[in-house]
Amino acid sequence: MADQHTNKELTYREVNEDVVNIMTQTGPMYYLTVALFGTAAVLLFIFPWAYQIYAGQGVTGLNTPVFWGVYLVNFVFWVGIAHAGTLISAMLFITHTPWRRAVARSAETMTLFALMFVGLFVFIHMGRPWNFYWTMPYPNPRQLWVNFMSPLVFDVVAISTYATSSIIFLFFGMIPDFASLSHSMTGWRKKFYGVLSLGWRGTDKEWHVQTKATIFFSSFVMPLVASVHSIVSWDFALSKVPGYSKTVFAPYFVTGALLSGFAGVVLMLIIIRRSFPALKKYITAYHFDRIGLFMLVLSLVWSYLTGLEVLTGLYADNTFENEHLIYKILTTPSMQLFMLMIFSNTILPLVLMSGRIRKCTSAMLVISIFVLIGMWLERYLIVPNSLSRKFLPWMWHDYSPTWVEGSIAIGAFCGFITLFMISIKIFPIISLYEVKEDVGIPMKKGHGYE
Protein backbone atom coordinates (compact mmCIF):
# COMPACT_ATOMS: atom_id res chain seq x y z
CA MET A 1 0.00 0.00 0.00
CA ALA A 2 1.63 3.25 -1.05
CA ASP A 3 0.78 6.45 0.68
CA GLN A 4 0.76 9.23 -1.90
CA HIS A 5 2.38 11.76 0.46
CA THR A 6 4.88 9.60 2.27
CA ASN A 7 5.98 7.27 -0.50
CA LYS A 8 6.31 4.65 2.20
CA GLU A 9 4.78 1.22 2.18
CA LEU A 10 2.09 1.27 4.84
CA THR A 11 -0.73 -1.01 5.85
CA TYR A 12 -3.84 -0.20 7.82
CA ARG A 13 -2.65 -2.45 10.63
CA GLU A 14 0.71 -0.71 10.72
CA VAL A 15 -1.01 2.64 11.09
CA ASN A 16 -2.91 1.25 14.09
CA GLU A 17 0.21 -0.23 15.61
CA ASP A 18 2.18 2.98 15.23
CA VAL A 19 -0.49 5.03 16.97
CA VAL A 20 -0.92 2.43 19.72
CA ASN A 21 2.85 2.41 20.29
CA ILE A 22 2.98 6.20 20.51
CA MET A 23 0.21 6.13 23.10
CA THR A 24 1.40 3.21 25.20
CA GLN A 25 5.19 3.14 25.03
CA THR A 26 6.51 5.95 27.17
CA GLY A 27 10.19 6.38 27.92
CA PRO A 28 11.65 7.99 31.06
CA MET A 29 12.60 11.14 29.10
CA TYR A 30 8.95 11.71 28.26
CA TYR A 31 7.91 11.46 31.92
CA LEU A 32 10.76 13.76 32.88
CA THR A 33 9.81 16.36 30.26
CA VAL A 34 6.15 16.29 31.32
CA ALA A 35 7.20 16.59 34.96
CA LEU A 36 9.50 19.53 34.20
CA PHE A 37 6.94 21.46 32.19
CA GLY A 38 4.19 20.54 34.66
CA THR A 39 6.25 21.82 37.59
CA ALA A 40 7.15 24.96 35.65
CA ALA A 41 3.44 25.50 34.92
CA VAL A 42 2.58 25.24 38.62
CA LEU A 43 5.45 27.49 39.71
CA LEU A 44 5.17 30.07 36.94
CA PHE A 45 1.44 30.05 36.25
CA ILE A 46 -0.59 28.78 39.21
CA PHE A 47 1.44 30.30 42.09
CA PRO A 48 1.73 33.82 40.63
CA TRP A 49 -1.97 33.75 39.79
CA ALA A 50 -2.77 32.64 43.34
CA TYR A 51 -0.54 35.44 44.61
CA GLN A 52 -2.37 37.92 42.39
CA ILE A 53 -5.75 36.73 43.66
CA TYR A 54 -4.49 37.06 47.25
CA ALA A 55 -2.78 40.45 46.84
CA GLY A 56 -5.05 41.99 44.21
CA GLN A 57 -4.51 43.36 40.71
CA GLY A 58 -2.06 45.89 42.12
CA VAL A 59 0.73 43.35 41.69
CA THR A 60 0.45 43.86 37.93
CA GLY A 61 1.78 46.80 35.96
CA LEU A 62 -1.76 47.84 35.06
CA ASN A 63 -2.48 51.44 35.99
CA THR A 64 -4.34 54.44 34.60
CA PRO A 65 -4.82 54.60 31.63
CA VAL A 66 -3.29 51.23 30.71
CA PHE A 67 -5.73 48.68 32.08
CA TRP A 68 -5.28 46.22 29.24
CA GLY A 69 -1.85 44.68 29.46
CA VAL A 70 0.02 41.45 28.92
CA TYR A 71 -2.92 39.28 29.99
CA LEU A 72 -5.00 40.52 27.09
CA VAL A 73 -1.99 40.31 24.78
CA ASN A 74 -1.85 36.64 25.71
CA PHE A 75 -5.59 36.31 25.29
CA VAL A 76 -5.39 37.57 21.69
CA PHE A 77 -2.24 35.54 21.05
CA TRP A 78 -3.80 32.25 22.19
CA VAL A 79 -6.97 32.87 20.19
CA GLY A 80 -4.69 33.22 17.19
CA ILE A 81 -2.87 29.98 17.98
CA ALA A 82 -6.23 28.24 18.15
CA HIS A 83 -7.17 29.32 14.64
CA ALA A 84 -4.91 27.21 12.48
CA GLY A 85 -6.23 23.95 13.93
CA THR A 86 -9.76 24.69 12.87
CA LEU A 87 -8.63 26.05 9.54
CA ILE A 88 -6.63 22.92 8.75
CA SER A 89 -9.42 20.58 9.80
CA ALA A 90 -12.35 22.50 8.33
CA MET A 91 -11.25 24.59 5.36
CA LEU A 92 -8.84 22.05 3.98
CA PHE A 93 -11.50 19.36 4.41
CA ILE A 94 -14.04 21.33 2.40
CA THR A 95 -11.47 22.03 -0.31
CA HIS A 96 -10.49 18.32 -0.46
CA THR A 97 -6.85 18.96 0.43
CA PRO A 98 -5.50 15.49 1.20
CA TRP A 99 -2.32 16.46 3.08
CA ARG A 100 -4.38 17.80 5.96
CA ARG A 101 -5.27 14.28 7.09
CA ALA A 102 -2.03 13.49 8.92
CA VAL A 103 -1.75 16.84 10.68
CA ALA A 104 -5.38 17.82 11.34
CA ARG A 105 -5.82 15.95 14.63
CA SER A 106 -2.75 17.41 16.31
CA ALA A 107 -3.73 20.88 15.11
CA GLU A 108 -7.28 20.41 16.47
CA THR A 109 -5.89 19.28 19.83
CA MET A 110 -3.70 22.36 19.85
CA THR A 111 -6.81 24.47 19.21
CA LEU A 112 -8.56 22.98 22.21
CA PHE A 113 -5.77 23.66 24.71
CA ALA A 114 -5.09 27.09 23.24
CA LEU A 115 -8.76 27.96 23.77
CA MET A 116 -8.46 26.81 27.36
CA PHE A 117 -5.76 29.40 27.95
CA VAL A 118 -7.82 32.00 26.10
CA GLY A 119 -10.53 31.57 28.72
CA LEU A 120 -8.05 31.51 31.59
CA PHE A 121 -6.40 34.74 30.53
CA VAL A 122 -9.72 36.55 30.50
CA PHE A 123 -10.33 35.50 34.11
CA ILE A 124 -6.77 36.27 35.16
CA HIS A 125 -7.16 39.72 33.62
CA MET A 126 -10.53 40.41 35.23
CA GLY A 127 -9.53 39.52 38.76
CA ARG A 128 -12.06 37.77 41.04
CA PRO A 129 -12.20 34.70 38.77
CA TRP A 130 -14.86 33.11 40.97
CA ASN A 131 -17.32 35.61 39.51
CA PHE A 132 -16.74 34.35 35.98
CA TYR A 133 -20.43 33.52 35.54
CA TRP A 134 -21.27 37.22 35.70
CA THR A 135 -20.24 37.42 32.06
CA MET A 136 -22.91 34.93 31.06
CA PRO A 137 -26.48 36.01 30.39
CA TYR A 138 -28.73 34.24 32.88
CA PRO A 139 -31.80 35.19 34.94
CA ASN A 140 -30.69 36.34 38.36
CA PRO A 141 -32.24 37.97 41.43
CA ARG A 142 -30.20 41.15 40.91
CA GLN A 143 -31.92 41.59 37.56
CA LEU A 144 -28.53 42.20 36.00
CA TRP A 145 -28.27 41.41 32.34
CA VAL A 146 -25.21 41.61 30.20
CA ASN A 147 -24.99 44.44 27.72
CA PHE A 148 -25.33 42.90 24.28
CA MET A 149 -24.08 46.15 22.73
CA SER A 150 -20.63 45.58 24.18
CA PRO A 151 -17.96 43.93 22.03
CA LEU A 152 -16.78 42.18 25.20
CA VAL A 153 -20.07 40.30 25.25
CA PHE A 154 -19.66 39.49 21.54
CA ASP A 155 -16.39 37.93 22.68
CA VAL A 156 -18.00 35.78 25.35
CA VAL A 157 -20.58 34.49 22.87
CA ALA A 158 -18.10 34.00 20.02
CA ILE A 159 -15.38 32.30 22.04
CA SER A 160 -17.76 30.04 23.96
CA THR A 161 -19.33 29.07 20.61
CA TYR A 162 -15.86 28.43 19.20
CA ALA A 163 -14.79 26.37 22.22
CA THR A 164 -18.01 24.32 22.15
CA SER A 165 -17.76 23.70 18.41
CA SER A 166 -14.06 22.81 18.61
CA ILE A 167 -14.61 20.29 21.42
CA ILE A 168 -17.53 18.69 19.54
CA PHE A 169 -15.58 18.63 16.27
CA LEU A 170 -12.55 17.08 17.94
CA PHE A 171 -14.49 14.42 19.84
CA PHE A 172 -16.74 13.65 16.88
CA GLY A 173 -13.72 13.08 14.63
CA MET A 174 -12.19 10.71 17.15
CA ILE A 175 -15.18 8.36 17.52
CA PRO A 176 -14.10 5.93 14.72
CA ASP A 177 -10.54 6.06 16.07
CA PHE A 178 -11.71 5.20 19.58
CA ALA A 179 -13.42 2.09 18.16
CA SER A 180 -10.23 1.18 16.35
CA LEU A 181 -8.13 1.70 19.48
CA SER A 182 -10.48 -0.30 21.70
CA HIS A 183 -9.91 -3.26 19.38
CA SER A 184 -6.14 -2.74 19.30
CA MET A 185 -5.50 -2.32 23.02
CA THR A 186 -5.88 -4.26 26.23
CA GLY A 187 -6.67 -3.58 29.88
CA TRP A 188 -8.28 -0.35 31.04
CA ARG A 189 -7.59 1.35 27.74
CA LYS A 190 -9.73 -1.21 25.90
CA LYS A 191 -12.70 -0.43 28.16
CA PHE A 192 -12.00 3.30 28.15
CA TYR A 193 -11.90 3.59 24.35
CA GLY A 194 -14.80 1.16 24.07
CA VAL A 195 -16.97 3.56 26.06
CA LEU A 196 -15.69 6.62 24.16
CA SER A 197 -16.40 4.94 20.81
CA LEU A 198 -20.09 4.92 21.79
CA GLY A 199 -20.65 1.60 20.01
CA TRP A 200 -19.24 2.69 16.64
CA ARG A 201 -18.89 -0.27 14.22
CA GLY A 202 -18.02 1.42 10.94
CA THR A 203 -21.18 0.48 9.03
CA ASP A 204 -21.99 2.16 5.73
CA LYS A 205 -24.83 4.01 7.42
CA GLU A 206 -22.60 5.31 10.23
CA TRP A 207 -19.93 6.47 7.77
CA HIS A 208 -22.57 8.12 5.58
CA VAL A 209 -23.95 10.17 8.49
CA GLN A 210 -20.43 10.85 9.78
CA THR A 211 -19.26 12.20 6.41
CA LYS A 212 -22.32 14.42 6.03
CA ALA A 213 -21.95 15.72 9.58
CA THR A 214 -18.25 16.48 8.97
CA ILE A 215 -19.20 18.58 5.95
CA PHE A 216 -21.77 20.51 8.00
CA PHE A 217 -19.37 20.98 10.91
CA SER A 218 -16.68 22.24 8.56
CA SER A 219 -19.12 24.61 6.89
CA PHE A 220 -20.11 26.04 10.26
CA VAL A 221 -16.63 26.23 11.71
CA MET A 222 -15.05 28.08 8.77
CA PRO A 223 -17.08 31.29 9.13
CA LEU A 224 -16.74 30.88 12.88
CA VAL A 225 -12.95 31.14 12.57
CA ALA A 226 -13.27 34.40 10.67
CA SER A 227 -15.91 35.76 13.04
CA VAL A 228 -14.09 34.93 16.28
CA HIS A 229 -10.93 36.85 15.54
CA SER A 230 -12.87 39.65 13.86
CA ILE A 231 -14.86 39.98 17.07
CA VAL A 232 -11.67 39.90 19.12
CA SER A 233 -10.35 42.74 16.95
CA TRP A 234 -13.55 44.72 17.56
CA ASP A 235 -12.80 44.67 21.28
CA PHE A 236 -10.29 47.29 20.22
CA ALA A 237 -11.53 48.63 16.91
CA LEU A 238 -14.97 49.65 18.18
CA SER A 239 -13.40 52.06 20.66
CA LYS A 240 -12.11 55.54 19.87
CA VAL A 241 -8.62 55.02 21.29
CA PRO A 242 -5.83 56.03 18.87
CA GLY A 243 -4.16 52.83 17.70
CA TYR A 244 -7.30 50.79 18.38
CA SER A 245 -9.87 52.50 16.18
CA LYS A 246 -8.96 50.94 12.82
CA THR A 247 -11.39 49.59 10.25
CA VAL A 248 -8.70 47.24 8.95
CA PHE A 249 -8.45 45.39 12.25
CA ALA A 250 -10.80 42.48 11.47
CA PRO A 251 -8.88 41.12 8.44
CA TYR A 252 -5.60 42.19 10.07
CA PHE A 253 -6.32 40.14 13.18
CA VAL A 254 -7.64 37.13 11.27
CA THR A 255 -4.56 37.06 9.03
CA GLY A 256 -2.24 37.46 11.99
CA ALA A 257 -4.08 34.75 13.88
CA LEU A 258 -3.72 32.31 11.02
CA LEU A 259 -0.05 33.18 10.58
CA SER A 260 0.73 32.59 14.26
CA GLY A 261 -1.52 29.52 14.27
CA PHE A 262 0.38 27.93 11.40
CA ALA A 263 3.67 28.79 13.10
CA GLY A 264 2.34 27.06 16.22
CA VAL A 265 1.33 24.00 14.19
CA VAL A 266 4.79 23.80 12.60
CA LEU A 267 6.52 24.10 15.95
CA MET A 268 4.34 21.44 17.50
CA LEU A 269 4.63 19.06 14.53
CA ILE A 270 8.42 19.31 14.62
CA ILE A 271 8.48 18.60 18.36
CA ILE A 272 6.17 15.55 18.17
CA ARG A 273 8.01 14.28 15.10
CA ARG A 274 11.29 14.37 16.99
CA SER A 275 9.71 12.85 20.10
CA PHE A 276 8.08 10.00 18.16
CA PRO A 277 10.17 8.94 15.16
CA ALA A 278 7.31 6.70 13.97
CA LEU A 279 5.42 9.86 13.06
CA LYS A 280 8.02 10.69 10.41
CA LYS A 281 6.19 8.24 8.15
CA TYR A 282 3.04 10.32 8.40
CA ILE A 283 4.20 13.89 8.94
CA THR A 284 6.66 14.44 6.13
CA ALA A 285 8.63 17.23 4.52
CA TYR A 286 5.68 17.56 2.13
CA HIS A 287 3.47 18.76 4.99
CA PHE A 288 6.00 21.39 6.04
CA ASP A 289 6.28 22.47 2.42
CA ARG A 290 2.51 23.04 2.20
CA ILE A 291 2.24 24.78 5.56
CA GLY A 292 5.29 26.87 4.66
CA LEU A 293 3.50 28.10 1.54
CA PHE A 294 0.49 29.07 3.65
CA MET A 295 2.78 30.94 6.03
CA LEU A 296 4.45 32.77 3.16
CA VAL A 297 1.14 33.97 1.73
CA LEU A 298 -0.19 34.92 5.15
CA SER A 299 3.02 36.78 5.96
CA LEU A 300 2.72 38.82 2.75
CA VAL A 301 -0.94 39.64 3.45
CA TRP A 302 -0.11 40.48 7.07
CA SER A 303 2.71 42.77 5.94
CA TYR A 304 0.41 44.57 3.53
CA LEU A 305 -2.19 45.05 6.25
CA THR A 306 0.47 46.28 8.70
CA GLY A 307 1.52 48.86 6.13
CA LEU A 308 -2.12 49.76 5.65
CA GLU A 309 -2.61 50.16 9.39
CA VAL A 310 0.30 52.58 9.68
CA LEU A 311 -0.34 54.47 6.44
CA THR A 312 -4.05 55.03 7.01
CA GLY A 313 -3.16 56.36 10.44
CA LEU A 314 -0.67 58.78 8.87
CA TYR A 315 -3.12 59.71 6.10
CA ALA A 316 -5.73 60.69 8.68
CA ASP A 317 -3.15 63.18 10.02
CA ASN A 318 -4.90 63.21 13.33
CA THR A 319 -2.81 64.60 16.20
CA PHE A 320 -3.65 61.75 18.58
CA GLU A 321 -3.03 59.09 15.93
CA ASN A 322 0.28 60.70 14.94
CA GLU A 323 1.38 60.81 18.55
CA HIS A 324 0.53 57.14 18.93
CA LEU A 325 2.46 56.23 15.77
CA ILE A 326 5.52 58.18 16.90
CA TYR A 327 5.38 56.35 20.22
CA LYS A 328 4.91 52.98 18.55
CA ILE A 329 7.42 53.26 15.72
CA LEU A 330 9.99 55.89 16.68
CA THR A 331 10.29 55.71 20.46
CA THR A 332 12.46 53.31 22.47
CA PRO A 333 11.68 50.53 23.42
CA SER A 334 8.59 50.19 21.17
CA MET A 335 10.69 51.05 18.13
CA GLN A 336 13.00 48.07 18.71
CA LEU A 337 10.05 45.79 19.33
CA PHE A 338 8.38 47.07 16.16
CA MET A 339 11.53 46.38 14.15
CA LEU A 340 11.82 42.90 15.61
CA MET A 341 8.17 42.30 14.72
CA ILE A 342 8.74 43.39 11.11
CA PHE A 343 11.84 41.21 10.87
CA SER A 344 10.02 38.18 12.31
CA ASN A 345 6.77 38.48 10.39
CA THR A 346 7.75 40.14 7.13
CA ILE A 347 11.45 39.79 6.31
CA LEU A 348 12.34 36.37 7.69
CA PRO A 349 9.28 34.53 6.24
CA LEU A 350 10.39 35.65 2.75
CA VAL A 351 12.91 32.80 2.83
CA LEU A 352 9.89 30.49 2.59
CA MET A 353 9.90 31.25 -1.12
CA SER A 354 12.55 28.57 -1.31
CA GLY A 355 11.10 25.05 -1.46
CA ARG A 356 14.31 23.68 0.05
CA ILE A 357 13.86 25.81 3.16
CA ARG A 358 10.18 24.89 3.48
CA LYS A 359 11.15 21.22 3.52
CA CYS A 360 13.95 21.72 6.06
CA THR A 361 12.47 21.17 9.52
CA SER A 362 15.29 22.99 11.34
CA ALA A 363 14.76 26.11 9.21
CA MET A 364 10.99 25.85 9.69
CA LEU A 365 11.52 25.56 13.44
CA VAL A 366 13.54 28.79 13.56
CA ILE A 367 11.10 30.67 11.31
CA SER A 368 8.11 29.50 13.36
CA ILE A 369 9.66 30.60 16.64
CA PHE A 370 10.39 34.03 15.18
CA VAL A 371 6.87 34.32 13.76
CA LEU A 372 5.39 33.43 17.14
CA ILE A 373 7.56 36.06 18.85
CA GLY A 374 6.68 38.56 16.13
CA MET A 375 2.96 37.91 16.43
CA TRP A 376 3.09 38.20 20.22
CA LEU A 377 4.86 41.55 19.80
CA GLU A 378 2.24 42.69 17.31
CA ARG A 379 -0.44 42.24 19.97
CA TYR A 380 1.77 43.88 22.60
CA LEU A 381 2.34 46.88 20.37
CA ILE A 382 -1.40 47.25 19.88
CA VAL A 383 -2.96 46.42 23.26
CA PRO A 384 -1.05 48.25 26.03
CA ASN A 385 0.97 50.49 23.72
CA SER A 386 -2.06 52.29 22.31
CA LEU A 387 -3.41 53.00 25.76
CA SER A 388 -0.07 54.47 26.84
CA ARG A 389 -0.59 57.42 24.50
CA LYS A 390 -4.29 57.92 24.94
CA PHE A 391 -5.35 61.39 23.80
CA LEU A 392 -4.07 64.19 26.04
CA PRO A 393 -0.51 64.17 27.46
CA TRP A 394 -1.65 64.29 31.09
CA MET A 395 -3.07 60.79 30.53
CA TRP A 396 0.13 59.35 29.11
CA HIS A 397 1.72 56.58 31.07
CA ASP A 398 4.33 54.02 30.09
CA TYR A 399 3.33 50.48 30.85
CA SER A 400 5.79 47.80 31.84
CA PRO A 401 4.63 44.37 32.92
CA THR A 402 5.63 43.09 36.37
CA TRP A 403 7.21 39.73 37.15
CA VAL A 404 3.71 38.36 37.90
CA GLU A 405 2.47 39.10 34.40
CA GLY A 406 5.67 37.83 32.78
CA SER A 407 5.66 34.67 34.85
CA ILE A 408 2.03 33.88 34.07
CA ALA A 409 2.69 34.44 30.34
CA ILE A 410 5.63 31.99 30.36
CA GLY A 411 3.78 29.58 32.67
CA ALA A 412 0.92 29.40 30.16
CA PHE A 413 3.33 28.03 27.54
CA CYS A 414 4.57 25.42 30.01
CA GLY A 415 0.99 24.50 30.90
CA PHE A 416 0.07 24.22 27.25
CA ILE A 417 3.01 21.91 26.51
CA THR A 418 2.23 19.77 29.60
CA LEU A 419 -1.42 19.32 28.63
CA PHE A 420 -0.53 18.61 25.03
CA MET A 421 2.04 15.98 26.00
CA ILE A 422 -0.42 14.29 28.36
CA SER A 423 -3.12 14.31 25.68
CA ILE A 424 -0.78 12.53 23.22
CA LYS A 425 -0.77 9.57 25.61
CA ILE A 426 -4.55 9.51 25.97
CA PHE A 427 -5.90 10.50 22.57
CA PRO A 428 -4.67 9.50 19.09
CA ILE A 429 -2.40 12.25 17.81
CA ILE A 430 -3.07 11.38 14.19
CA SER A 431 -6.47 10.56 12.78
CA LEU A 432 -6.38 6.81 12.17
CA TYR A 433 -9.17 6.57 9.65
CA GLU A 434 -8.06 9.64 7.73
CA VAL A 435 -4.47 8.43 7.48
CA LYS A 436 -5.83 5.08 6.29
CA GLU A 437 -7.75 7.00 3.63
CA ASP A 438 -4.41 8.52 2.64
CA VAL A 439 -2.96 5.03 2.33
CA GLY A 440 -5.71 4.21 -0.17
CA ILE A 441 -8.62 1.86 -0.64
CA PRO A 442 -7.54 -1.76 -1.14
CA MET A 443 -8.74 -2.83 -4.58
CA LYS A 444 -7.81 -6.08 -6.29
CA LYS A 445 -8.39 -4.48 -9.67
CA GLY A 446 -8.83 -0.93 -10.87
CA HIS A 447 -7.92 2.05 -8.70
CA GLY A 448 -6.41 1.71 -5.26
CA TYR A 449 -3.69 -0.60 -4.10
CA GLU A 450 -3.27 -4.36 -4.28
Binding site: Y12, F148, F154, P176, G199, D204, E206, I231, E437, I441
Partner: protein, 163 residues
Protein backbone atom coordinates in the same frame (compact mmCIF):
# COMPACT_ATOMS: atom_id res chain seq x y z
CA UNK B 1 -24.27 -14.03 7.66
CA UNK B 2 -21.09 -12.03 7.91
CA UNK B 3 -18.31 -12.10 5.32
CA UNK B 4 -14.84 -10.65 5.90
CA UNK B 5 -13.03 -9.20 2.89
CA UNK B 6 -9.57 -7.83 2.22
CA UNK B 7 -10.46 -5.99 -0.98
CA UNK B 8 -13.17 -3.41 -1.44
CA UNK B 9 -13.99 -4.28 -5.06
CA UNK B 10 -14.67 -7.89 -4.02
CA UNK B 11 -16.84 -6.68 -1.20
CA UNK B 12 -18.84 -4.27 -3.35
CA UNK B 13 -19.50 -6.87 -6.05
CA UNK B 14 -20.81 -9.22 -3.38
CA UNK B 15 -22.86 -6.43 -1.83
CA UNK B 16 -24.39 -5.55 -5.18
CA UNK B 17 -25.43 -9.13 -5.86
CA UNK B 18 -26.87 -9.66 -2.38
CA UNK B 19 -28.81 -6.43 -2.61
CA UNK B 20 -30.19 -7.37 -6.03
CA UNK B 21 -31.21 -10.74 -4.58
CA UNK B 22 -33.38 -8.86 -2.10
CA UNK B 23 -31.34 -9.32 1.07
CA UNK B 24 -30.85 -6.58 3.59
CA UNK B 25 -27.12 -5.76 3.64
CA UNK B 26 -24.76 -3.79 5.83
CA UNK B 27 -21.21 -2.95 4.81
CA UNK B 28 -18.48 -2.54 7.45
CA UNK B 29 -15.24 -0.67 6.79
CA UNK B 30 -12.37 0.97 8.69
CA UNK B 31 -12.59 4.04 6.43
CA UNK B 32 -15.48 5.86 4.75
CA UNK B 33 -16.02 4.31 1.30
CA UNK B 34 -18.00 7.28 0.02
CA UNK B 35 -18.55 7.23 -3.71
CA UNK B 36 -17.41 3.64 -4.13
CA UNK B 37 -20.23 2.33 -1.99
CA UNK B 38 -22.82 4.71 -3.42
CA UNK B 39 -21.89 3.58 -6.89
CA UNK B 40 -22.31 -0.08 -5.95
CA UNK B 41 -25.38 -0.18 -3.75
CA UNK B 42 -27.01 3.16 -4.38
CA UNK B 43 -27.02 6.52 -2.71
CA UNK B 44 -28.09 6.72 0.90
CA UNK B 45 -30.27 9.53 2.11
CA UNK B 46 -30.96 10.81 5.56
CA UNK B 47 -32.58 13.95 6.90
CA UNK B 48 -29.49 15.20 8.78
CA UNK B 49 -29.27 18.30 6.60
CA UNK B 50 -32.80 19.31 7.53
CA UNK B 51 -32.05 18.91 11.21
CA UNK B 52 -28.89 21.01 10.76
CA UNK B 53 -30.90 23.65 8.92
CA UNK B 54 -33.52 23.62 11.66
CA UNK B 55 -30.79 24.12 14.27
CA UNK B 56 -29.18 26.96 12.34
CA UNK B 57 -32.47 28.79 11.70
CA UNK B 58 -33.60 28.15 15.27
CA UNK B 59 -30.25 29.43 16.52
CA UNK B 60 -30.58 32.60 14.49
CA UNK B 61 -34.00 33.38 15.93
CA UNK B 62 -32.89 32.40 19.44
CA UNK B 63 -30.08 34.96 19.11
CA UNK B 64 -32.55 37.59 17.97
CA UNK B 65 -35.03 36.84 20.75
CA UNK B 66 -32.25 36.79 23.32
CA UNK B 67 -30.73 40.13 22.41
CA UNK B 68 -33.87 42.00 21.41
CA UNK B 69 -35.79 40.48 24.33
CA UNK B 70 -33.12 41.63 26.77
CA UNK B 71 -33.23 45.12 25.28
CA UNK B 72 -37.02 45.14 25.57
CA UNK B 73 -37.00 43.97 29.19
CA UNK B 74 -34.11 46.18 30.31
CA UNK B 75 -34.25 49.26 28.07
CA UNK B 76 -31.03 51.03 29.05
CA UNK B 77 -30.10 54.05 27.03
CA UNK B 78 -26.37 54.01 26.36
CA UNK B 79 -24.73 57.07 24.87
CA UNK B 80 -27.61 57.81 22.55
CA UNK B 81 -27.35 54.43 20.88
CA UNK B 82 -30.61 52.78 19.79
CA UNK B 83 -32.19 50.38 22.27
CA UNK B 84 -32.70 47.84 19.48
CA UNK B 85 -29.40 48.01 17.61
CA UNK B 86 -29.08 46.00 14.42
CA UNK B 87 -25.32 45.30 14.27
CA UNK B 88 -24.77 43.75 17.72
CA UNK B 89 -28.04 41.86 17.48
CA UNK B 90 -27.02 40.28 14.18
CA UNK B 91 -23.56 39.51 15.53
CA UNK B 92 -24.96 37.55 18.44
CA UNK B 93 -27.51 35.89 16.14
CA UNK B 94 -24.67 34.91 13.77
CA UNK B 95 -22.86 33.12 16.58
CA UNK B 96 -26.01 31.41 17.91
CA UNK B 97 -26.82 30.28 14.34
CA UNK B 98 -23.49 28.46 14.26
CA UNK B 99 -23.76 27.18 17.83
CA UNK B 100 -27.21 25.70 17.40
CA UNK B 101 -26.33 24.41 13.93
CA UNK B 102 -23.38 22.53 15.39
CA UNK B 103 -25.40 21.21 18.34
CA UNK B 104 -28.23 20.00 16.11
CA UNK B 105 -25.72 18.40 13.74
CA UNK B 106 -24.05 16.39 16.50
CA UNK B 107 -27.51 15.50 17.85
CA UNK B 108 -28.54 14.42 14.36
CA UNK B 109 -25.38 12.38 13.97
CA UNK B 110 -26.18 10.46 17.16
CA UNK B 111 -29.83 10.07 16.20
CA UNK B 112 -29.33 8.82 12.65
CA UNK B 113 -26.30 6.65 13.31
CA UNK B 114 -28.05 5.22 16.40
CA UNK B 115 -25.21 6.03 18.74
CA UNK B 116 -24.43 5.66 21.56
CA UNK B 117 -25.25 1.96 21.70
CA UNK B 118 -23.53 -0.21 24.28
CA UNK B 119 -25.40 -3.50 23.75
CA UNK B 120 -24.36 -6.48 21.62
CA UNK B 121 -24.50 -6.04 17.87
CA UNK B 122 -22.97 -8.01 15.01
CA UNK B 123 -19.41 -6.82 14.59
CA UNK B 124 -15.84 -7.95 14.16
CA UNK B 125 -12.81 -6.28 15.67
CA UNK B 126 -11.00 -6.32 12.33
CA UNK B 127 -13.62 -4.04 10.75
CA UNK B 128 -12.22 -1.11 12.69
CA UNK B 129 -8.64 -1.98 11.84
CA UNK B 130 -7.96 -3.42 8.39
CA UNK B 131 -10.81 -5.63 7.15
CA UNK B 132 -14.02 -4.97 5.31
CA UNK B 133 -17.25 -6.77 6.05
CA UNK B 134 -20.58 -7.58 4.50
CA UNK B 135 -23.51 -8.59 6.67
CA UNK B 136 -26.38 -10.27 4.84
CA UNK B 137 -29.60 -10.40 6.81
CA UNK B 138 -32.75 -12.39 6.19
CA UNK B 139 -31.02 -15.51 4.86
CA UNK B 140 -33.16 -18.62 5.28
CA UNK B 141 -31.40 -21.46 7.07
CA UNK B 142 -31.53 -23.69 4.01
CA UNK B 143 -29.82 -20.97 1.90
CA UNK B 144 -26.99 -20.28 4.33
CA UNK B 145 -24.56 -22.70 2.73
CA UNK B 146 -25.25 -21.33 -0.72
CA UNK B 147 -24.86 -17.70 0.34
CA UNK B 148 -21.71 -18.52 2.28
CA UNK B 149 -20.28 -20.25 -0.75
CA UNK B 150 -21.16 -17.29 -2.94
CA UNK B 151 -19.43 -14.87 -0.57
CA UNK B 152 -16.29 -16.98 -0.65
CA UNK B 153 -16.47 -16.99 -4.45
CA UNK B 154 -16.55 -13.20 -4.36
CA UNK B 155 -13.35 -13.20 -2.29
CA UNK B 156 -14.46 -13.38 1.35
CA UNK B 157 -11.58 -14.68 3.45
CA UNK B 158 -13.95 -15.81 6.19
CA UNK B 159 -17.70 -16.27 6.50
CA UNK B 160 -19.52 -16.40 9.82
CA UNK B 161 -23.08 -17.31 10.57
CA UNK B 162 -24.61 -14.95 13.08
CA UNK B 163 -27.17 -16.06 15.62
Amino acid sequence: MLGLFDYVDDLLEAAQEMKNAGYCITVFSPIPLGHEIEHAIGEKKNPLKWLTLLGAVGGFFTGLVFTLGTSAMYPLSRGGKPIFAITPTLLIAYETTILFGVLFTIGGFFLFSRLPFFGKRPNDEAFNIDSFGLMVEGVASDSEAEIGHRLVEFGAKEVKTLE
